[in-house]
């Protein structure tokens, strides 16, 4: 007898509970408020999503290999501060580094990405060589980076950016914001990296079964270091963009971004238990999380309630991931 695949509504609802919930909230917001379903609002949504998507792409590699990166948010903050220090206007009176030469924004971006890549590589080395659990290693790095950021900025907020840097966030190409273009490039790169390269295959193999991957000849150590290095570079890029978008940077920049990124990845189907995750899923996860924030903002909900709602969404996402894990056992 031929078996037919029936659509399991309960399973679909359970797997996509948060997405459906936020979709319902978006429809409710659109029907009860003005200007929600407008091009401008969607443009703002994509601009807000862009740096978060880049961070989530970086974190996703760590999650797929059964790791995590709690230093992501603080690294974004450090990157924003570094970019801000290098790209303050030459005529700005309160310049943090008066001796620093006037360099183009892409040179500063390169420097920031290299520095953050080194920090990411240190994370990777600690995890791969010293076998420190990623949770602990990146928690330590989070505190180190935060402290370093306070030292180099003297705890002072940075502003007075040169115009070319601000334009990175404010400009657009054919009506398409530059920030979104950066995100699209990163998305396409990760799509290629995860699906078409040996590195991507190694990454999923390590996440699925590290011992089996090692026996099969995968260089686990090198792959893990590469993943964290790349993640660091992505935080560098995201920090650079966050600084440009905000028009300023301080030690508080990037606070809590790591949890948002991990939550977005989990909502998008990247299992915290490793071996599973797609770039399209990450995009959906980031979209859902940002849409939730924008909906609550439109509804005039107090930010305190928004934090509670975000926390609940994270708990639900992890609980759903746990449910999938237990159902497989």
């Amino acid at each position: 007898m031929e078996k037919t695949k029936s659509f399991n509504v309960k399973k679909f609802m359970s797997d996509n509970a948060i997405i459906l919930l936020v979709l319902a909230l978006a429809i409710f917001t659109g029907l009860t408020t003005d200007n929600f379903f407008t091009g401008r609002n969607f443009s703002n949504l994509f601009i807000n999503m862009s740096p978060r998507f880049i961070i989530a792409c970086g974190v996703s590699g760590c999650l797929i290999t059964k790791g995590t990166d709690l230093s992501a948010g603080r690294q974004v903050g450090l990157a924003a501060c570094l970019a801000a220090m290098m790209l303050q206007d030459i005529t700005y009176a309160a310049r943090m580094l008066p001796w620093f030469p006037d360099i183009p924004w892409f040179a500063a971006l390169l420097i920031v990405m290299v520095i953050m890549g080194i920090i990411g590589a240190i994370n990777g080395c600690v995890i791969a060589f010293l076998k420190v659990p990623p949770f602990i290693a990146t928690l330590g790095m989070q505190t180190i980076v935060y402290g370093a950021c306070q030292i180099i900025t003297n705890n002072q907020p940075l502003g007075g950016f040169k115009k070319s840097y601000s334009n990175v966030a404010l400009g657009s190409l054919g009506g398409f914001p530059f920030l979104a273009i950066f995100a699209v490039i990163v998305g396409v790169y990760f799509l290629f990296l995860y699906n078409k390269t040996r590195h991507g295959k190694y990454m999923y193999a390590i996440g699925g079964n590290e011992s089996a991957a090692q026996v099969a000849g995968v260089n686990v150590t090198a792959t893990i270091i590469r993943i964290y290095l790349l993640a660091g570079m992505m935080y560098g890029l995201a920090g650079f963009l966050v600084g440009a978008k905000a028009g300023g940077a301080s030690t508080a920049t990037g606070f809590g971004y790591e949890l948002e990124a991990i939550a977005a990845c989990t909502i998008g189907g990247v299992s915290a238990n490793g071996g599973v995750g797609r770039v399209s899923g990450i995009l959906v996860g980031v979209l859902v999380f940002e849409a939730l924030k924008i909906c609550l903002q439109f509804l005039g909900v107090d930010p305190a309630y928004t934090f509670v709602a975000q926390g609940l969404v994270i708990i639900i996402a992890v609980a759903l991931d746990l449910r999938k894990y237990l159902a497989k056992k």
Binding site: S14, A17, L21, L25, K66, G67, T68, K131, P133, P134, F135, E210, S211, Q214, V215, A272, N273, G274, L296, L299, G300, V301, D302, Y305, T306, V308, A309, L312, V313, I315, I316, A319, L320, L322, R323, Y325, L326, A327, K329
Partner: protein
Amino acid sequence: MDGEKQPQKRERRDKSELNAFENLYENFRNVPLKYLDIFIGLCVAALVLVIALGVMNR
């Protein structure tokens, strides 16, 4: 020889070698799915309640 030794060493992985999430998930191994579903349902209800309260208190 190394290839033979490696899996044996890995098989003996104790709980402390697992990452935080793996440990966390393994702790729930004996929890019936029914209870987890109830927990998720309660969280969803709480989320709806928080949003409703937020909208009413604006």
